[in-house]
Subunit: 267 residues, 2 copies
């Protein structure tokens, strides 16, 4: 342990708290883990080699340098309201909660949002995660950015409005794309086919993003306006999946049409 190491308290024990704690444990002194459920606090504390676990906000260590509040969006306000300001740096890790949610109750506060989809069963190395930071003033923003730099190579300052937009975009890019895979798996499972057959296709689709914009690499019946194939597919689908097929095919046509129009204007 180096003497200049920051003393950090982890408030929360969920997927983000776990990844952040794992990412910080080499760089900081993790002095305490808090969770509403003592078993969860103890489990995370032992995982990251931290001696103190608690389920009581009144027992929170008072003299740490940084408090990482990684709890559900609604619980952030409750935590901050239950603990008096101690002048330390208080950070939350939510993409959708503005910094103002802390600023009323804390002199030095900010947001350190790792834009990543975390699952407990699949720990993510924080070093490559894009982290967006914001502080309640310029000096704090610089401190948050420096602290986040211990966790990740990719740190960008982004205010709450930009973060909200990034969050919406990540819902499309990650949550909705993943749901497309769930629907594909359902289509296959109905006739005993394995989802694994799609993995090479999915990998290539993603690799293309390294070289082409997604609009440019769009393929398939909707992109080429193949009504006959689309009708055949719709006949196979029912309920939600049928509606989604129709709506997304229309939306793909619309995006392609906009590009073609732009192309024409350019010529």
């Amino acid at each position: 342990m180096r003497s200049e190491q920051k003393r950090v308290v982890i408030v929360g024990s969920g997927n983000v708290a776990t990844s952040v704690a794992l990412g910080l444990r080499e760089e900081c002194e993790l002095v305490q883990v808090y969770s509403r459920h003592i078993e969860n606090a103890q489990a995370l504390a032992s995982k990251v080699g931290c001696a103190d676990a608690t389920d009581d906000l009144r027992r929170l260590v008072a003299d740490a340098d940084v408090y990482m509040v990684s709890v559900t969006d609604d619980a952030i306000g409750e935590v901050v309201a239950s603990v008096p300001d101690n002048g330390a740096l208080w950070l939350h890790t939510s993409g959708s909660v503005p910094v103002s949610a802390l600023a009323g109750a804390r002199q030095r506060c900010g947001v350190m949002w790792p834009m990543q989809s975390f699952s407990k069963s699949m720990p993510v190395s924080m070093a490559d995660v894009h982290v967006f930071v914001e502080g309640n003033n310029e000096a704090t923003t610089a401190q948050v950015a420096e602290f986040a730099g211990m966790l990740s190579r990719n740190v960008t300052v982004a205010d709450s409005a930009k973060r909200k937009r990034l969050h919406v975009a990540s819902v499309f890019a990650c949550n909705f794309a993943n749901h497309m895979w769930t629907l594909a798996a359902e289509v296959l499972e109905e006739s005993g086919l394995s989802f694994d057959a799609l993995l090479p296709l999915i990998r290539t689709t993603v690799e293309k993003l390294e070289h082409l914009r997604p609009l440019e690499s769009q393929t398939g019946p909707a992109a080429r306006g193949d009504e006959k194939v689309m009708r055949g597919h719709m006949e196979l689908l029912t309920g939600d999946k049928r509606e989604i097929y129709a709506m997304l095919s229309r939306s793909i046509r619309e995006s392609q049409r906009k590009t073609e129009d732009n192309g024409k204007n350019r010529v």
Copy 2:
């Protein structure tokens, strides 16, 4: 050139024809490339070291062993109707056209469908592509499977009904997922943010598929039923994107609910 090499004619010069020809050129003798447009036929022929290019179906080499018909779905029938049967193995490469489209006019015919999303600007190595094959009878099916084995390590026999289901699934898994990235890019571009910020997130989302079923790795506001965040996101969106956000969020909830119900039933 080995004496036992199959003599192959490539009919078509699009993305699939190009990838198939590139994949076969080491293993077969490519004797001719046909395209409706002679420049396209010549370009592909020269790319794969084939001496003969034509834009005239009446000039098609008559004594090849295999004819790979990689043209648009609607043109497959036209090609076959314009050329008399010569007893060779005639294959099309479409996921959505049944083998019966050839069987009327050919004694030995089949389908060799590489389930992959091809773009000319991004050639795909066929060796890892999953190829689904079918013949008009058992003996031909075995020949198609053997021929496809020269192209890919992953060859599976699948009849037209299974292929259609795989095709629908691949539209969800690849075309629709890619469109989610297009919409994400639009959301970011509206405020000058770069799509590249999402790439690490997208990569992790895909890596999870190696270990978890997509339903199990689903995260985000819809999966956890976070109405407040979803309302906030909807306020930012307009038109198509707003509708799509609402519909996919409902569909994610529905998929999660079904799993939870199953979970309960299991307990």
